[in-house]
């Protein structure tokens, strides 16, 4: 069948998925942000080895540490949700299973993110 849509119309419709290259771009933006944040997280873990409970909490309560760790967690999980969504779309072709897994992917990342942020805030605010 002849395609009657003009290229402009297709661009405005943002392709078959309806949201064009937004996920591709979000993947790149989060990956760039995660390079320094991951290096910070690795440094934090390695430098904090052997610290006591009180020392660890004091470190985690520092605003700079708390803010950077919160960003590391949130941006990692956004990046992970995109990546796992891509893996599911690649390998799971049955519609019901695919939608279920995509939903679980969202639930899992938000649950883990929520738990991490709650823990970080509780420590930061001295709970």
């Amino acid at each position: 069948m002849a395609d009657m849509q003009t290229p402009l119309r297709k661009v405005r419709g943002l392709g078959a998925a309806g949201h064009g290259t937004s996920e591709f771009w979000r993947n790149r933006v989060t990956s760039v942000a995660l390079i320094p944040l991951s290096l910070f997280a690795i440094w934090l873990v390695v430098s904090g080895l052997g610290s006591s409970f009180a020392e660890t909490r004091a470190t985690l309560a520092h605003p700079v540490v708390a803010i950077l760790l919160a960003l590391f967690v949130i941006i990692s999980l956004d990046h992970m949700r995109l990546g796992m969504g891509e893996i599911i779309a690649d390998y799971v072709h049955r519609e019901g299973a695919k939608l279920t897994l995509l939903m679980l992917n969202t639930f899992f990342t938000i649950l883990v993110g929520g738990a991490c942020i709650f823990a970080l805030l509780k420590i930061a605010f001295g709970g």
């Binding site: 990956s31 390695v46 409970f53 992970m80 420590i123």
Partner: protein, 137 residues
């Protein structure tokens, strides 16, 4: 072997994609797979991060339990894999960012970068653990 097919009578048989097992494993293929698998490993590894943070926010006992499990030989093995996944996925991600600029796609360059990703990630992981062992000692 029927690894070619003719679509019309008299037409030269067209090549079809060979089965996965016929391919020779190349560094680019290997590192493509490793990038995805390490990403998936990090996805589940984040549970450990959440557990550790929640334990640190709960009680001294919960924190000691989390540290005890992660400090066991099995825990350390998992953390070693976690750290390698992080490094190899980070270097693989850098390659993706380079590809986005249109560079590094030529066959021999891509093979060299694949090898560099693998070797670099192993070196960085070993260095990380040398620091960990010295700090822990």
């Amino acid at each position: 072997m029927s690894n070619s097919t003719a679509t019309r009578p008299g037409m030269k048989p067209r090549p079809v994609s060979p089965h996965l097992q016929i391919y020779r494993l190349t560094p680019t293929m290997l590192m493509s797979g490793v990038h995805r698998i390490s990403g998936a490993a990090l996805y589940f590894g984040v549970i450990l991060v959440a557990w550790w943070l929640v334990a640190a926010s709960t009680s001294e006992n919960a924190f000691a339990t989390a540290n005890g499990v992660m400090g066991s030989w099995l825990g350390l093995l998992v953390l070693f894999g976690f750290s390698w996944s992080l490094w190899v996925h980070m270097l693989g991600g850098l390659r993706h960012l380079i590809w986005d600029t249109g560079r590094g796609l030529e066959k021999h360059t891509a093979t060299k970068h694949s090898m560099a990703t693998l070797v670099g990630s192993i070196v960085l992981t070993v260095l990380t653990w040398i620091v960990i062992l010295f700090a822990g000692a």
